[in-house]
């Protein structure tokens, strides 16, 4: 799947699995019992439906019970810290009735794993998990059939524990998975699909399990793309312009003669050097003089919001109902506000990296990518070779957050390797990471709402620029409403508003960032809801409860309020703030307590409670870690993070001037989940982060009276707002 397509999906709510390619992996595997599981789109949507017609060439998951009794689980998903290496093994182990520690996860290898559209959008637990459960249930039934035959008993007389099948009333009569699979290679797929377990039968699902990859990560043994060392490998360094979007005019490499063993790569837009010594490659790259055609800046950090509103005049109505004119007429109070959110960097601790080599015509590559199969296709296109001639291998990823779906570094590494004929390692510098990041776009949200004398919202008019519609379906009951999306794509395309022909309205690269625009729109909506509550003199919790029209959201908010103890007394200078949001099928309610120093404008988060309705929680511990992580990361965009730029010249290029959240600003965080073990599991990687901005902004207002309409809520903006207040 192309990155542009993923971007499009990322900014919208994805509520169905991504369709699959046909692949054939089975001959590459060794012995044992291989279970291929095929499931159609429809049954996945129904969640737990079964009995689809089978098609061995088009399958979503498979696993292999090996001759030693261990189980390989093959999935196209990757592990980047979100914990699915543990939770997917957990659901498999529960269905198959083996120890979770007997499961080996084979992830994101394009030769071994079934196709996957990529690890993004909090899709894994919603769409990969049910398929793996179903495959494991199928494997369990196949193993029971084989055991029944061997032990000469009926299948119903058998039971399984920790990979051993035994006769219920005669436990000494038994056979292990290893004994069943020894010397066999059986590929099977059942025509009648067994039912997956109900929650009452779960042994592992719902239990808290520590990450199974923690041991390899605390010992330094876990390998990332830049940790691969190959014989004869050279290090590549790409020569970059100072300004994003610059085009190469001329290259002067005359100064390279002072470096022994250096090779210049100068092909198309790519200028790079390679050397077998990393630091010599880095030094030499600085000596290559490239003349660039640099685009003139059209906007900067402060003018960007007006720029977006000026440039984008086309819109689509995303949702509407009732009549805004009537809504306006029946409102007692009308409030019109404008919210801004700047560009945000992904800033994963691991910069984009790739290591690769050619084996004849075939490329073998390890890359920090969230989309191994997408990368395979990009590489095949870039190198003009067949898909089968590209092998993307399994590797850990040092954080992605939506930023590692574009794969620019991997394509550069492959082109350089092809050009110089040697194995290549390319690790972007931190400066390159900021420069070539695909930032969460700057966004504008214009909102006008009306409320009647009873405190019921009567009108909602919401215009979104560059934040997409993901998560903007209203969970407040408002009869007269309209949500419009002013989309930059309308500017890029054939639209009559195409003022900047074929140019993005953004001067820098933009893309998906952990629940992307839902962070911006949730900040705007929840800040505005608070503003209205304040204006009519209602408690923000009571106002929300009065206006919610979504049972799960109401219950989630009540759970958060109870856990937080909303009605407790506030200390001097402290404030409480609520934000609600919906993302990837999960309802989120966050309540924060902050202290604001009115003299300095400094904010100290004191406490954060996050309640979620995420359906069935597979690994409560893992879900808690993800939620804490999302909140901790979210404090960065809420309080500090802002990409500063003039045109394509990105000025924030290191952690000194692009400040992410640190230890000292991370408060006590409490995560609670609604108990829904019988429900379908929903997304967990992204949802919590969307509420952090709004909840912090609202708490800052409650503490200090400063209403900040632009993310991040910096000390400077708080002081400015206090002056106006």
């Amino acid at each position: 799947m192309k990155p542009e397509k993923i971007d499009e999906l990322y900014f919208n709510d994805v509520n169905e699995p991504i369709q699959l390619d046909r692949r054939d992996f089975l001959k590459k595997l060794g012995g044992g019992i291989i279970v291929v599981f095929c499931i159609g789109k429809l049954s996945l949507l129904n969640g737990w439906g079964q009995n689809d017609k089978e098609d061995l060439s088009n399958f979503n998951a498979y696993l292999r019970v090996k001759e030693d009794g261990r189980v390989d689980c093959y999935t196209g998903k990757i592990e980047m810290g979100q914990g699915i290496i543990t939770s997917l093994a957990q659901v498999l182990a529960d269905e198959l009735q083996v120890s979770i520690y007997a499961v080996d996860m084979v992830m994101g290898d394009t030769e071994l794993c079934p196709y996957d559209a990529g690890t993004w959008g909090s899709l894994t637990t919603r769409f990969a998990d049910p398929v793996i459960r179903a495959a494991a249930a199928e494997a369990r039934e196949i193993l029971l059939d084989l055991a029944a035959e061997k032990l000469q008993v009926t299948k119903t007389a058998l039971t399984i524990e920790e990979g051993v099948i035994f006769v219920k009333n005669n436990p000494s009569k038994k056979i292990t998975f290893a004994e069943i699979t020894k010397g066999k290679k059986i590929v099977k797929s059942l025509s009648t699909k067994p039912e997956i377990k109900k929650s009452s039968d779960f042994k592992l699902i719902g239990q808290s399990i520590i990450s199974t990859d923690a041991l390899s990560k605390v010992t330094g043994k876990a390998q990332y793309s830049g940790d691969i060392k190959l014989p004869e490998m050279v290090y590549a360094k790409v020569v970059r312009p100072a300004v994003y979007g610059s085009k190469k005019i001329a290259v002067d490499a005359s100064e390279l003669t002072t470096f022994e063993g250096i090779t210049l790569i100068n092909e198309g837009d790519l200028v790079a050097v390679v050397h077998n010594n990393l630091e010599i490659a880095n030094k030499a790259a600085r000596k290559v003089k490239v003349t660039w055609n640099t685009p003139e800046p059209t906007t900067d950090t402060d003018t960007i919001f007006q720029h977006l509103e000026d440039q984008i005049t086309d819109y689509n109505v995303f949702k509407d109902g009732g009549d805004l004119t009537i809504g306006r007429a029946i409102s007692k109070t009308i409030l019109k506000e404008k919210y801004h959110d700047g560009y945000k960097a992904h800033a994963p601790m691991e910069t984009h990296s790739a290591t690769c080599y050619f084996e004849g015509e075939k490329l073998i590559i390890w890359a920090s990518t969230q989309t191994p199969f997408g990368l395979q296709k990009q590489l095949a296109n870039a190198l003009h070779i067949e898909l089968e001639k590209v092998h993307v291998k399994q590797i850990f990823i040092g954080g992605g957050f939506g930023g590692k779906i574009y794969n620019k570094q991997a394509i550069e590494a492959a082109l350089i390797s092809k050009s110089c004929g040697k194995p290549v390692q390319l690790v972007w510098s931190r400066k390159e990471e900021f420069m070539y990041d695909r930032f969460r776009p700057a966004a504008v949200m214009n909102v006008t709402s009306g409320v009647n004398k009873e405190g019921k919202l009567t009108m909602w008019d919401f215009d979104i620029y560059c934040a997409g519609t993901r998560g903007t379906s209203l969970f407040y009951g408002i009869e007269n409403h309209r949500t419009r999306m002013f989309n930059e794509k309308n500017v890029k395309g054939d639209s009559h508003t195409n003022k900047l022909k074929n140019q993005s309205v953004h001067p820098v690269g933009t893309g998906a960032w952990r629940a992307p625009g839902n962070n911006s729109t949730t900040f705007a909506r929840e800040s505005h809801i608070d503003s209205v509550a304040y204006k009519i003199g209602m408690d923000p919790l009571a106002f929300r409860l009065k206006n919610l029209d979504h049972l799960n959201m109401t219950a989630t908010l009540q759970l958060a309020a109870e856990t937080f103890d909303w009605n407790r007394k506030k200390k001097e200078g402290h404030g409480f703030g609520i934000a609600l949001g919906e993302d990837a099928g999960t309802c989120v309610a966050i309540i924060t307590e902050v202290f604001v120093d009115k003299n300095s404008g400094e904010v100290q988060p004191i406490k954060i409670v996050c309640a979620q309705d995420m359906g069935q929680v597979v690994n409560p511990h893992g879900a808690t870690v993800q939620t804490e992580g999302g909140i901790t990361m979210g404090l960065g965009y809420a309080l500090f993070e802002e990409v500063e730029f003039s045109g394509g010249n990105v000025k924030t290029r290191n952690f000194k001037n692009y400040e992410i959240n640190k230890f000292s600003k991370t408060p006590e965080i409490t995560c609670v989940f609604r108990d829904k073990m019988d429900a379908k599991p929903q997304g967990g990687g992204e949802p919590a982060i969307i509420c952090v901005g709004g909840a912090i902004a609202n708490a800052v207002f409650d503490a200090s009276g400063a209403r900040v309409y632009r993310m991040p809520v910096t000390s400077k903006r708080i002081l400015e707002a206090l002056k106006k207040a």
Binding site: G81, T219, Y224, K229, P348
Partner: protein, 158 residues
Amino acid sequence: MKQSISFTLNGKPVTVEVEGNESLLTVIREYLDKTGTKFGCGLGDCGACTVVINNEALRSCMLAVEDVVNKTILTIEGLEENGNLHPLQKAFVEKDALQCGFCTPGMIMNAYGLLLKNPTPTRNEVINGMEENLCRCGSYNRIVEAIQLAGIEMNKNF
């Protein structure tokens, strides 16, 4: 200037041929293939490359290799003793104080240096000592808990 440089790495003497003025991080990762120590920024801003030199936690990306002649360097690979995890490693696993794991070696080595100076740090002392090590996944609270837990365990052993 090309030269041979000797130091002790994880308890073993090593001598390495260098070009001169390389960062210690490059020497550890690319010359000696100890890739547990990570490159995060190359500017001393993130702490992913932290190692312990003569009992002090320092950023290997900011040190020239010439600065460590005859010194004793400990990296994440040298923490285990006789196949047993160090209490810090155990505590990081127990508290699951990591996600993507990329900052983890630097966090653990910085914490190692911190506990050498202050074996029983308070929560605030841990935060102050760890403040300049960055974790984008957001495991800070768990890291603080893990370090305090390790401190308690290490004091028991003495």
